[in-house]
C-alpha cells in the first residue's frame, strides 16, 4: 500500500498542478473506455461472440431440416426440454430461426460491423484524435452490450426467446398469450426491450459518426479526399439515423398492444372460440413501419462492407480505385433509393398492384448503382498487381457473392414474379448470399486487413486462406442449391406432409452438412483471431521517431498508418498530419504508393 502510494506520488510529482491530467486505469482503459480504438475492439469481440451464437443456432435448425426423422441425443443434454428425446421441439425451432435472424442482422452485421469499423477507421482515416463525442460513443457500446445481454437472457426463461420471426409481425407477436405461441410471452417482451436498446445504441453511434466525419477532418482533408470506407460508413450512419426511429415507433405501438390492450395492429382476434376485444388495428401498419427500417437495414449492412472492400481491393491490387466519384455517387443513390423501396417486401399483403409497380421500378433502379460499383471493383483489380492475401481474397469473394446474390434480386424485385417466390427458399438464398454472406466477406476482409492496426500484429495467413476457401466453397454449397428448391416454403419445421417436396430431401441434407462444415471453418477464424492477438507476427517497424515505432504493413496511402503502431490516446503524438492528395495514389509517378500526407511535388498535378 505504502509503496503503491509512493510510486503514485513519484509518478505525479505535481499532481495538483495538472488536474486535467488523467492516468488510464484498467477500468478506464479496457472497460469504460472512451477511446475509439478500444471501443472498436469491444464492438468487434462482442460481434464475434454474437456471430458464434447466431451461427450455432443455424446449425441447430439445419439438423432438424436436414434430418427431420433422426434424433440427436446430445441435443437433449444441451437444450433440455427444448429437445426432448434428441429432437428439437417445434416451438424451439421457431425460436432458433427468429433469434438467428435477429442476432445476425442486428447484433453482428449492424452493431458488430458498423460499430467496429466506423469506430476504428473514421478517426484514423480522417485525421481526428477521437470521435465528436467520445462519451456518447462509449454509451453507444454500452447500450449495444446491454441490448445483447437482454437478448441473450431470453434464451433462459421458461417460455423461451421470441419465436414469431425476426420481422416480429403482429398479430402473432401482438398477443402475450403463450397458448398461441410460446415465444410471444416474456421472450418477445425481452426482444422488444433488447431491440429498443439496440436502436438507441445505433442512433448514438450514428450521430457521432456523421458529426465526426463532417466536422473533425484534419487540414487538407476535403470531402473528395476521403477514403471510400469513410463515405460508406457515413452514409450508413445517415440511413440508420433516419430509418431506425421508424422501427422504434413500430415497436412502441406493438408493446402498447401487448401490454395495455390497445388495438394498433389487432382486429377481431379469435382465440379458442373467444373473440378478443381488439378492434380497428391493422397488421399491415406494422409491416410498413418495420420495412421502412427493414429495407434500409440491408444497406446499413452492405454499405460498410462495400466501403471496406473498395479500400482493400485498391490496396492489395496496388491500383487506384476505378471511378472514385462514381463510387461515392452510387452509394448516395443507394442511400436515397433505399428509403423508397420498402413495400417490395409486402407485394403479397394485398398491396395495390399499381403501387406495387412503382415499388418494382424503384427496386430495379437500385441495380444501376450496384452494377456501377461491381464494374468499378472489377476495374480496380483489372491488371493490378493482385496480392492473394486473406484480406484481398475475401474482398474478391465479396464481389463474387454480391453478383450472385444481386442477380436474383432483379428477379425478386418484380412484383408479378415475387408473388410466386414470396417466402420460398429462393428468397432465403437471395438475401443470405447478397446480404448475409457478402457482408460477412466484407467484414472478414476488413478484419484481416486492419487487424495489424488494431493489435499491432498480423493474423496467421495460412489459417486465413483455409478460412477463405472453406467459407467461399461452403457458402455456395449452402445457398446455391436453395435456388432450385422450387416453391419450398421457408420457416417450415418439416415438409413430411408434402409429398411433392420429398425430392428435395437430398438437397436439404447436403445443405445441412455444408452448413456444419462452414460453421467449423469459422471456428478456424475465431482461433486465428484470438491466437494472433497474443502470438501473431508483429508488424514490421519501418521507422522510429521520438520513441514511437511506425509501420505500414500493406503499403497503404491512407492516414491510419501515420499513427504509431502502439495504441495511443489521441492517435498522433504531435500535430495531426496535413493531407495533400487523394487516398488512392497507387502505382503512380513510378512509385508503388504515395501516402496522403506527402506534399505534391512541384509541377505534379493532383488527382482531383
Amino acid at each position: 500500500m505504502e509503496t503503491a502510494t509512493a510510486a503514485h506520488t513519484e509518478h505525479h510529482p505535481d499532481i495538483h498542478g495538472h488536474e486535467e491530467h488523467h492516468e488510464e486505469t484498467f477500468l478506464t482503459k479496457y472497460i469504460f473506455s472512451q477511446d475509439h480504438k478500444m471501443i472498436s475492439k469491444q464492438f468487434l469481440i462482442t460481434g464475434i461472440f454474437w456471430g458464434i451464437v447466431g451461427g450455432f443456432l443455424s446449425v441447430l435448425f439445419r439438423l432438424q431440416l436436414g434430418w427431420p426423422n433422426e434424433t440427436f441425443p446430445f441435443l437433449e443434454s444441451l437444450l433440455g426440454k427444448w429437445a426432448e428425446g434428441g429432437k428439437i421441439s417445434q416451438e424451439f425451432y421457431y425460436a432458433l430461426v427468429t433469434m438467428h435472424g435477429t442476432i445476425l442482422v442486428f447484433f453482428v452485421l449492424t452493431g458488430g460491423l458498423s460499430g467496429t469499423f466506423a469506430n476504428l477507421l473514421i478517426p484514423y482515416q480522417i485525421g481526428a484524435r477521437d470521435m465528436a463525442s467520445p462519451f456518447i460513443n462509449m454509451l453507444s457500446y454500452w447500450f449495444f452490450l446491454t441490448a445483447g445481454i437482454v437478448m441473450f437472457f431470453s434464451f433462459f426463461i421458461q417460455t423461451g426467446p421470441a419465436s414469431g420471426g425476426w420481422t416480429a409481425y403482429p398479430p402473432l407477436n401482438g398477443l402475450r398469450d403463450t397458448s398461441v405461441n410460446l415465444g410471444s410471452g416474456l421472450g418477445f417482451d425481452m426482444w422488444i426491450l433488447g431491440m429498443s436498446l439496440f436502436i438507441v445504441s445505433s442512433l448514438l453511434g450514428g450521430l457521432n459518426y456523421i458529426a465526426t466525419v463532417l466536422n473533425m477532418r484534419t487540414k487538407g482533408m476535403n470531402m473528395f479526399r476521403l477514403p471510400l470506407t469513410i463515405w460508406a460508413l457515413m452514409f450508413t450512419a445517415v440511413i440508420g439515423v433516419l430509418s431506425f426511429p421508424a422501427l422504434l415507433a413500430g415497436c412502441v405501438l406493438l408493446e402498447f398492444d401487448r401490454l395495455l390492450d390497445t388495438s394498433f395492429y389487432l382486429n377481431n382476434i379469435i382465440i379458442n372460440g373467444n373473440l378478443l376485444g381488439y378492434k380497428g388495428g391493422s397488421p399491415i401498419l406494422f409491416q410498413h413501419l418495420f420495412w421502412f427500417l427493414g429495407h434500409p437495414e440491408v444497406y446499413i449492412i452492405i454499405l460498410p462492407a462495400m466501403g471496406l472492400v473498395s479500400e482493400v481491393l485498391s490496396t492489395h491490387s496496388r491500383k487506384p480505385v476505378f471511378g472514385y466519384k462514381a463510387m461515392i455517387f452510387s452509394i448516395l443513390a443507394i442511400l436515397v433509393l433505399s428509403f423508397i423501396v420498402w413495400a417490395h417486401h409486402m407485394f403479397v399483403t394485398g398491396l395495390n398492384p399499381n403501387l406495387g409497380a412503382v415499388f418494382t421500378l424503384f427496386t430495379l433502379l437500385i441495380a444501376i448503382p450496384s452494377a456501377i460499383k461491381v464494374f468499378n471493383w472489377i476495374g480496380t483489380i483489372w491488371r493490378g498487381k493482385v496480392r492473394l492475401s486473406s484480406a484481398n481474397l475475401f474482398a474478391i469473394g465479396f464481389v463474387s457473392m454480391f453478383i450472385s446474390g444481386g442477380l436474383t434480386g432483379i428477379i425478386l424485385g418484380n412484383s408479378a414474379i415475387d408473388i410466386q417466390l414470396h417466402d420460398t427458399m429462393f428468397v432465403v438464398a437471395h438475401f443470405h448470399i447478397v446480404m448475409g454472406v457478402s457482408a460477412f466477406f466484407g467484414m472478414f476482409a476488413g478484419v484481416y486487413n486492419w487487424f495489424p492496426r488494431l493489435y499491432g500484429k498480423y493474423m496467421n495467413e495460412t489459417l486465413g486462406q483455409i478460412h477463405f476457401y472453406g467459407t467461399l466453397i461452403g457458402a455456395y454449397a449452402i445457398f446455391f442449391p436453395m435456388h432450385f428448391m422450387t416453391g419450398l416454403p421457408r420457416r417450415y419445421y418439416t415438409y413430411a406432409n408434402f409429398e411433392t417436396f420429398n425430392n428435395f430431401n437430398f438437397l436439404a441434407e447436403f445443405i445441412s452438412i455444408a452448413a456444419i462444415i462452414v460453421f467449423l471453418v469459422q471456428i478456424v477464424f475465431v482461433v486465428n483471431f484470438f491466437y494472433s492477438i497474443f502470438k501473431g507476427r508483429n508488424v514490421e517497424v519501418q521507422k522510429t521517431v521520438d520513441g514511437h515505432a511506425y509501420g505500414n504493413p500493406w503499403g497503404t496511402t491512407t492516414m491510419e498508418w501515420t499513427s504509431p503502431i502502439e495504441r495511443l490516446h489521441g492517435n498522433w503524438p504531435g500535430d495531426i498530419p496535413t493531407i495533400h492528395r487523394w487516398p488512392y495514389d497507387y502505382s503512380v509517378n513510378g512509385r508503388e504508393y504515395i501516402p496522403q500526407t506527402e506534399p505534391l511535388k512541384p509541377g505534379e498535378v493532383p488527382h482531383e
Binding site: A132, L207, A211, R217, L242, A249, T262, F264, D546, G570
Partner: protein
C-alpha cells in the same frame, strides 16, 4: 512517454468545416432522428384515420392549448437564461433556469390533465384507435420532456450549489465545456418544444 490529451484538447480546433461545434452538430443529427420517430408515429395516425371506418372523432381537450403556451414560454425562458449566462449574470441565470424547470413540470401537469379530460369524456386508452394515438404520442413526447427536465435539474443543482463562493462559481461556471453543454441543453429544449407545437397543430387539424 505517452501524450495524454483531455477531451477539450481533442475537440478544440474543430469548427472550421461546418461552423459549429461537432457535438452541437451531433445533436442536430439526433434531432433529425427524433423527428423521424415522431413522423413515423404521426403518419401511422394518418394511415389509420384513413382506413379505419369506426374512427371516432372527438374534441381535443382545451388544456393542450395551455400546454402549448407553456412550452413556448419555456423556450423563451430558457433562452433568456442562456443569454444571461453569456453575460455572466449568474443570479439571473439561476432563477431563469429554475423557472424553466417549473414550466417544464407545469407542462407535464397539463398533459396529465389532458389525459384525465380524455378519460372523463370516455375516451380511454383502449376505447378507440383515435384516442390511443393521442395517449401514445403524448407519452412518447412526455418522455423526451422528462429527460430534458432531468438534465436541466443537474444544471440547476450545480448552479445553486456554488453560489455562496464567487471563486468556485467562476471556476465552475465560466468554462467552455459548461457553456457548450448549456447550449446543447437549450437547443434540445427548443427542439422538444417545437415538436409539441407541431404535435398540437397536427392533433388540432385531425381531431376537430
Amino acid at each position: 512517454m505517452s501524450v495524454t490529451l483531455t477531451e477539450q484538447d481533442i475537440l478544440k480546433e474543430k469548427t472550421e468545416y461546418t461552423g459549429v461545434h461537432p457535438q452541437k452538430f451531433g445533436l442536430w443529427i439526433g434531432m433529425a432522428s427524433m423527428s423521424m420517430f415522431f413522423a413515423a408515429l404521426t403518419s401511422a395516425l394518418l394511415v389509420k384515420k384513413g382506413d379505419y371506418r369506426s374512427w371516432e372523432a372527438f374534441r381535443l381537450p382545451t388544456v393542450f392549448l395551455l400546454s402549448t403556451i407553456t412550452v413556448i414560454s419555456l423556450s423563451c425562458c430558457i433562452h433568456a437564461a442562456l443569454i444571461s449566462y453569456r453575460k455572466s449574470k449568474f443570479s439571473q441565470f439561476r432563477w431563469l433556469m429554475f423557472f424553466s424547470f417549473l414550466l417544464g413540470c407545469l407542462f407535464l401537469g397539463f398533459q396529465l390533465m389532458g389525459w384525465s379530460v380524455l378519460q372523463a369524456g370516455g375516451m380511454t386508452l383502449t376505447e378507440n384507435l383515435s384516442g390511443s394515438f393521442i395517449y401514445v404520442i403524448t407519452a412518447a413526447h412526455g418522455l423526451h420532456i422528462v429527460v430534458g427536465l432531468f438534465v436541466m435539474l443537474v444544471f440547476i443543482v450545480n448552479a445553486f450549489r456554488n453560489r455562496k463562493d464567487p471563486i468556485y462559481e467562476l471556476r465552475d461556471i465560466i468554462n467552455p465545456k459548461r457553456q457548450l453543454n448549456l447550449e446543447l441543453l437549450v437547443s434540445y429544449w427548443h427542439y422538444v418544444d417545437a415538436v409539441w407545437v407541431y404535435l398540437y397543430l397536427f392533433f388540432y387539424l385531425n381531431y376537430q
